[in-house]
Symmetry: C2
Subunit: 272 residues, 2 copies
Amino acid sequence: MSRVEIIAVGKEILRGKTLDTNSNWIAQRISALGGKVARITVVDDLIPEIVKELKASLNNRSKVIITTGGIGPTFDDRTLEAVARATRRRLILKQEALNLITQRYRELKQRGFVDSEELTPSRKKMALLPRGSTILPNSVGTAPGIKLSSKGTTIFCLPGVPAEMKAIFEESLVRELQNTIGKQFFQERKVSVDLGDESRLAGVVDQVMRQVSGVYIKSFPSHFGKEVQLPLGITASGNTQKEVEDLLRKAIERLKEELERIGHSLKEFPEE
Amino acid sequence: MSRVEIIAVGKEILRGKTLDTNSNWIAQRISALGGKVARITVVDDLIPEIVKELKASLNNRSKVIITTGGIGPTFDDRTLEAVARATRRRLILKQEALNLITQRYRELKQRGFVDSEELTPSRKKMALLPRGSTILPNSVGTAPGIKLSSKGTTIFCLPGVPAEMKAIFEESLVRELQNTIGKQFFQERKVSVDLGDESRLAGVVDQVMRQVSGVYIKSFPSHFGKEVQLPLGITASGNTQKEVEDLLRKAIERLKEELERIGHSLKEFPEE
């Protein structure tokens, strides 16, 4: 199975101020895609420290390295510079990234979230990417993620803000990872539940994911208020079609049982 | 400031089944003692993987390495063997550890938690320690922790079960760490609060610890039910006596404010 390593960058995790939930979320997601997280490292936002861990991960012949944190506009966002050093590339201003960032700040200005849409040096910095990077658009925040290949390893750099990290992961990484680390068989099933209260649903979903190892359950945000049907996507991967179907069946059964226990129910859709 | 590294051992964290709250707790605790966590690593329970991270931490000239997990009785508990290899020591049966384990299983048998007090090979394994280890008694579980010095680095191996890890940390490590990584000034203040519901108190305490960086607030379990005075211990460290006093003052003020907001209050004791 392909080796995946996660590097979380951030002083706030090392000081104990922030609990690193990102690495746990990514680990769940990678497992459900059929990959294997072999190592998680948390390092300070200092270039030599980040470079050291990146080099160690490259030496471990990881198929994929995912970094979180340190790609924003402030002075202590140094992950991209560290990636450039570890892979011996120059940082270059990427016009495509600059366009995305320009557009994002224009929107934020219009919505009154920032005072000015001016591309200050710190904002411009987010478009300084290691040569050869592919941009992963950030639909939630300002800093785009990047993808970079180096000697058989694919490096993905994602933001540290959980909502931004998850958005880029779902929108760009899932497809990429299915090709690089995924098992042969992969399937997604959609169901819907009559529990519109996402905070209550989260507990049920979390429990089932922990019980049925290798499945991932995603809820699609609903805008119709409470007491409606909420759609869920259940994904699993495996070495045989049967393995995948068994996992999906088991997850759906456990979900049904848990929902019934609290007076709710689950509806299955015909398979696509 | 002295470098501390944490190595969490366990497949369940890498699979995303377990959120690593141990490292976060230790990081908070180390910060409050005046130390600096420079790196957290999560590795699989495979000897070569653990050895590699231990060697990296030793090469980083860490003053202290704290490992969690992998010191129990099962076949995949391999941390002590990895520590022995990384520090080039032999594993030897430590009579003192064997006595503790024997005594513990006798108690567990009397209380009906285990069927037999027999020292099976897997139970005996917990007394196989790298030569030169000092035992850190485990008042909550069966596997004792260990302390080992190697070329200027002190390695502490703790269990992965949070309650056991915390018990050994509080009972043995705090004193040890104050000597090795602590800042010059260290102080503890006791207060009491009229909020006996520890689950509600936990939220308040957690918030204040995140706001006042460098303090640690410990609650002492109370056996008097709800609506009683619950004692809290607030610890801080710093380079000057004033720094420590300011931190303690700030934490107590924030605690008071937060408690008053939910209709409770805090009582200070005269300083010792």
